[in-house]
Amino acid sequence: MLNFVLLVLIYTVIYSFMALGQNVITGYGGMLSLCQAGFFAIGSYTTGILCTKCGWNFWPTLIVGMLFAALLGVLIGLPTLRLKGDYLAIATLGLGEIIKNVINNWQSLTNGPMGIQRIPMVKVFGLTINPYNNKLGFLVLSGCILLICCLFLSRFIKTRTGRALEAVREDELAALSSGINSTVYKIMAFAIGASFAAIGGSLYSVLTLSISPGTYTFMMSVMVLCMVVLGGMGNILGVLLGAFIIQLISYLPDLTNLSSVIPPQCKEILFGVILVVMMIFRPEGILGRPKRQVLSEVGVMGAERFHTFKKIGRGFKKIGSKFRKKGGRV
């Protein structure tokens, strides 16, 4: 039982990396990317391949995976992020499929559908962490990395870059006219988001010690999206909470020994329902604060008009009272 709870927590942490990355892209940047699973796969396979075929240590592969994912993010972001609209969503969806396709077909490098086995365990200060016997150790290790990432993000959003990014999300036109090069910031956000997912992927491959392309499905990306939407876009604590809730939901049938009764599709339908319902009733997520009411164009005009009407009304009242005072003669 304790082992199981630890496992859920470890998966929460690993998915949190993806969710935090999605949060940078979607929460801070206001863009929709559907390819976290693809970047996660990049991280996993970089670690898997470099560790098994080149005999690298885990830590440098973590960095290489991040850089590789970020590079790929920039490459896909350059053509799509220059444009307005939702092309990024489709292009990233396509990229996810392409990554899966390449992993499946590039036999000599990725071993195709068979995947990579016997990935060496991670070593910290000469201490090998066996994810099977020492779940707590692994949790602490990945938790520490997650903490660093969270600290980085919470600082990042307060920097000039972070504020510029949020400005682009709120009103791209206004940001552009304030001298912010929106494309650069969008691509930067996208690259950061991608590299975060890659961290999760690297950790995942030293957790399971064997990887295969079947893991990195579109469903994974949707789950990550669900975490961010549920917890609260743009809110780090919210995202972590969202990741925990979604992981709990997906492991609940196993935890309560009901996995034979409840078909696996139920939880996936539930994820879909969460997305729709949250968008309609609480788009800011569980922990998010409701947005300040920004007067939209129509709102401002409406307010002005209302003001004018009030003035006119007051004027009529004055005239009326004068009229009455003077006994009907103006």
């Binding site: 996936e268 879909g272 329902v273 997305l275 968008m279």
Partner: protein
Amino acid sequence: MSEFFQHFINGITLGGVYALVALGYTMVYGILKFINFAHGDILMWASYVGLFTYNAIRGSHPTGAFSVFAFFVAMILAALFSSVLGMTIEKIAYKPLRKAVRLAPLLSAIGVSYILSNTAQLFFGAHSRKLEYPFDNTPITGAGGISITPHQILILVVSGVTMVLLMLFVNKTRLGKAMRATSLDQDASSLMGINVNNIISLTFAIGSALAAIGGMLVSLDFKVYATMGTMLGLKAFVAAVVGGIGSIPGAMVGGLLLGLLETFGVALLRIPLGYKDTIAFVVLIIILIVRPSGILGKNIREKV
């Protein structure tokens, strides 16, 4: 040369289906300015409904006139079903979000798509079902050794007729005019006495019906399964972007072009079959770099 024509025929039949599905994306995008991610899954549900009604009507009849009749009845029923489904989805999941931030309807659409594909998997299982040919599908070999299957003729005829009807509807009727007006400016058209809500519903109904027809046509060749709509929908969206999203003739051109590119890419450029699905996305990225407004799309200047 005959090989070229052979691939050309294969390409335009594939492209015809892409075009039918792309029309749904482009019409919705034209009016609501968002990608209806659930379009492919509406197609999948419609194909299931079509499959079941077709099997129920046909029973154990052999291939022939009655089976073809059953196929068309099933197709019409599937189209009706999917238009109702499309309208319902719009009312429940998209309408409350019309005034929300851009991202909201997109996320909601992904949720809907996910719900649809997983409920199908829950109800119908993960295995794929085959829609039997209602006619004898032996290829007819014509002049120059070019062969065409009756199925390809069916696709060409049905998609051609449907697209002509759609063009007539959009360009010649009052409702079509209202639709075009709504896509240009919702507020202005509602001031002109157009019921924008009804027009949006109608758009979803027509788009979904077209998807159902496309779904029935491909179900004969490929099989019917719960995730059949995902890839088809993605490619159809790429077709819509290639032709110029929001433009109805653009979707048709884009669909045909994508079908041809895929067929020729595999047959003549010798792109490995495993990477066939990659072609569409490479095309998408190239078109986004070279001509983001698409082939027939107008380059709209941004106004402040």
